[in-house]
């Protein structure tokens, strides 16, 4: 009996699950017979939680307890632009959590974003189990290709919380290309243009003899159908303001009604030339009388409203094509993915941009889940005619250096898995530590990139300058997840420590969430083979601090690599900011944090000494510190890989 594994497209608006059995791949419908399930979670008063289409009702009736588009918040820092934008368009309460992350507040409960996503994933798992009639634990979960490490890690965490073994985090456009080309023996270069609810991705792939090689991928993780709706909401709200002098955006109920109307109008425009928008009783007027909106929206008007959004996608396409070394009209096909691609307005613009007809034999809502299912099956039951994927990292991986700059270590669109090593050496006598920041992004200016993590490497032997060498190894695995290893070469300390740079949940956090079963309260209309009806929660079980507290003894902002209390808390990273300094290309120096080593208390160079601190989002202090680490000159002469091959 071949092993079973499902493919899940965890979308911003809708999620879809599929399975491959024998030669056919099937999208599994939920009990409503719907082939996609709304990515919406509704926390009903009284404690039960509904997910999917049943939860949609909550959007109108109880918007502050109904979570939609949570994917936009995955792996984001609270202070980020993206979170601010989400706050502007979401009625539910987004607050700051541990490690500068995001939590969603429902009454007096707090949920992390991976927990919300886990509820959706669990629902998809249940949909599949109900259809198939047996329990399933393995899945490939897709993410936008342009997701960074934090977002991928958060998605993987969500899978684990949902009780899934995540076989792979797969890029959505790659999955779509797989669904399109699998088993057809194609030799083609194609573009996948994927505009979903919240994200835009473009990937250029070469398909040949069932090898799917991604040549380049680019995207915008904050551009999707939601933004199109927002334009219509603005229009309606502005008109309403000038007519009635009432701000609809300030009222969560009215705002949700606008959102529903805007979304409905968009859908209508995918089949009609104009649409009648009618919102009776959008809000009560000054005398308590119901006020309404009635208006016709034409395709022409709509085109103007969203013109710049569509153009933004083409700027991204230009970059992807340039990186792939391809020209639009030379491609053999363009595959459209995502709900908004049903709009003729969009299809025409894309067709014009690529100067060719579009492939119309793929279902834009299901193709990603189908590709994920094909891949999931090939991972658990390898056969000789499997499709084979060669993917790339979407963003450059960088290390912070002086002057607020970030040097690229692994460029974007480099194939994965990949590993690169840099050797550093101490600059000062008896230097004990060095603090390292890792970024992802395309800017030389450190702050314009996403800070993945910051860690301190410490506990060097007492030695004179230059006598301590550290190899720092950056690795990106096939999931696109980043790991950094640091190794003290000089002491012969062979402990090579692996550091997972996760700004989100720690191992301990995930464990305690799973144990608390706080995400299992879903009162799905579906049968729940595993959990059954969970009793309403008790207060302790839901106390946010408790559930989210990282490893005991560790301060919330500091995660230790091992589950042992860390020796170095925040206090050892005072104004840690600007540690890294740069002088010329060949001569990267690292300046450690200004650390006053504990008198007498020598910190030994063992794994436990490594700490990852949650990235500080404040401006780095540009002041130059005297202590520095130099990248060892002449590294290249020694062959950077020497140590590794011996190991």
């Amino acid at each position: 009996m071949p092993e079973r594994a499902i493919g899940i497209d965890l979308g911003t608006s809708n999620s879809c699950v599929a399975i491959r059995e024998g030669d056919t791949t099937t999208v599994l419908a939920n009990t409503y017979g719907e082939r996609t399930t709304a990515s919406v979670v509704f926390f009903q008063e009284g404690g039960s939680i509904s997910v999917g289409n049943a939860a949609r009702a909550g959007l109108i009736h109880d918007p502050i307890r109904t979570i939609a588009s949570a994917k936009r918040l995955m792996g984001r820092f609270y202070g980020s632009e993206e979170v601010k934008k989400a706050q502007a368009i979401c009625s539910y309460k987004i607050a700051e959590g541990d490690s500068h992350g995001v939590v969603i507040e429902i009454g007096d409960e707090q949920f992390t974003v991976p927990e919300i996503s886990a509820m959706i994933l669990r629902e998809m798992k249940t949909v599949a189990e109900t259809q198939i009639g047996e329990s399933i634990s393995k899945a490939v979960i897709t993410v936008p290709a342009y997701f960074n490490d934090n977002q991928r890690q958060a998605t993987k965490d969500a899978g684990r919380i949902a009780g899934l073994e995540v076989l792979r985090i797969l890029n959505e456009p790659t999955a779509a290309a797989l669904a399109y080309g699998f088993g057809k023996g194609l030799n083609q270069k194609v573009a996948v243009w994927d505009l979903g609810g919240g994200t835009f991705d473009i990937s250029i792939l070469e398909i040949g003899d069932d090898v799917f090689e991604v040549l380049a991928t680019c995207g915008d993780t904050f551009l999707g159908g939601d933004d199109f709706d927002d334009r219509v909401i603005d229009l309606l709200a502005d008109e309403f303001l000038s007519k009635h002098n009432i701000r609809l955006r300030n009222d969560p109920f009215a705002f949700e009604k606008l959102k529903v109307a805007a979304e409905g109008a968009k859908r209508a425009l995918s089949t009609e030339d104009d649409v009648e928008i009618r919102i009776p009783d959008v809000i009560a007027g000054p005398d308590g009388q119901p006020l309404s909106i009635e208006r016709t929206l034409t395709t022409g008007e709509y085109a103007k409203l969203v013109h710049d959004l569509i153009q933004r996608t083409f700027v991204v396409c230009d970059a992807a094509l340039a990186q792939a070394g391809e020209v639009a009209r030379d491609l053999d096909g363009v595959i459209l993915v995502g709900g908004p691609t049903r709009l003729p307005l969009i299809r025409d613009a894309v067709s014009q941009y690529f100067q060719q007809e579009l492939k119309s034999d793929v279902d834009p809502d299901e193709v990603v889940a189908i590709g994920a299912a094909i891949f999931a099956t090939s991972l658990v039951n390898p056969t000789s005619d499997d499709a084979f994927l060669l993917d790339v990292t979407p963003l450059s991986l960088r290390i912070g250096v002086a002057g607020g700059l970030a040097e690229s270590i692994i460029e974007r669109n480099t194939p994965v898995p990949i590993e690169q090593t840099r050797r550093f050496t101490t600059f000062k006598d008896y230097q004990e530590s060095v603090d390292i920041r890792v970024y992802q992004g395309e800017s030389r200016n450190a702050q314009e990139n996403e800070l993945l993590g910051q860690f301190m490497f410490s506990g060097f032997e007492k030695a004179r300058r230059g006598e301590v060498s550290i190899d720092i190894t950056f690795e990106i695995n096939v999931d696109g997840i980043v790991e950094v290893k640091a190794k003290d070469v000089s002491t012969g300390e062979q402990a090579s420590t692996r550091i997972t740079l996760s700004a989100g949940l720690s191992e301990g956090d995930i464990e305690s969430i799973i144990q608390s079963q706080r995400t299992d309260r879903v009162a799905s209309t579906l049968s729940q083979p595993t959990q059954g009806g969970r009793p309403a929660h008790t207060d302790e079980a839901l106390a946010p601090d408790q559930a989210l507290q990282p490893v005991e003894g560790a301060k919330p902002k500091t995660k230790s690599v091992k589950s042992k209390p860390t020796l170095m808390g925040d206090d050892l990273l005072p104004e840690s900011d600007d540690l890294l300094e740069r002088e010329g290309l060949e001569d990267v120096k690292l300046t450690p944090a200004a650390i006053d080593p504990t008198p007498g208390g020598k910190i030994t160079a063992v794994d436990e000494d490594l700490t990852i601190t949650a990235p500080t989002l404040d401006e780095p202090d540009a002041k130059e510190l005297e202590e520095e680490l130099f990248e060892r000159p002449g590294t290249d002469l020694e062959g950077p890989g020497d140590d590794e091959t011996k190991a």
């Binding site: 390898p382 460029e411 480099t414 898995p417 990949i418 690169q420 290249d636 002469l637 890989g641």
Partner: protein, 174 residues
């Protein structure tokens, strides 16, 4: 699918540090870009983690090392600038691995060197020739470029400039 024996995998992992990227891909040093791509696909199919999930953890670790090296090799060899820098490194027997950032830096350094000259004399005569060209003095330009090329016989940019100056000089000659 991969029917590799675990011993083949560990054997390759053990000598990984001695193989240059061409050897890793079983390629000749003058391989064409299309050969490089084909070799990348073929080698990846055999050693990619996806094709080797069924092995023991120890073998999978070896697979990880090999597949990471394959990506690195491809990233260097598929890019002409990086490949040139790499070819020089292995010719000089200065190691079989090259970090991507290093290859980039070496590549762009080479480009500037080619444009401006790598030796002081090369630069000096090239600058003289440029001034001659601006003044339309092709005779002197050719002479100075010849001298520049004498100092840097491998500078393709100088040679190309010389060829062009000669053409112009020929065209002008009565």
């Amino acid at each position: 699918m991969a029917d590799l024996a675990p011993t083949e995998i560990t054997a390759l992992a053990a000598i990984l540090g001695e193989l240059d990227y061409y050897q890793l891909f079983h390629l000749r040093y003058d391989a064409k870009p299309s050969d490089i791509k084909r070799a990348y696909h073929a080698t990846s199919r055999v050693f990619h983690p996806d094709s080797n999930r069924h092995h023991q953890p120890e073998i999978r670790r070896a697979i990880d090392e090999i597949s990471k090296r394959i990506s690195e090799a491809y990233s260097i060899l598929r890019n002409p600038r990086r490949r040139t820098a790499y070819d020089q490194q292995i010719t000089a027997k200065a190691g079989v691995r090259m970090q991507l950032a290093e290859a980039e830096a070496a590549g762009s350094r080479k480009q500037t060197e080619a444009r401006e000259g790598r030796t002081p004399q090369g630069r000096q005569y090239f600058n003289l020739a440029s001034a001659n060209l601006r003044q339309g003095d092709f005779d002197s330009a050719v002479r100075n470029l010849q001298t520049a090329v004498a100092f840097e016989p491998d500078n393709a940019f100088f040679k190309e400039q010389l060829a062009q100056a000669r053409k112009k000089w020929d065209a002008k000659r009565p």
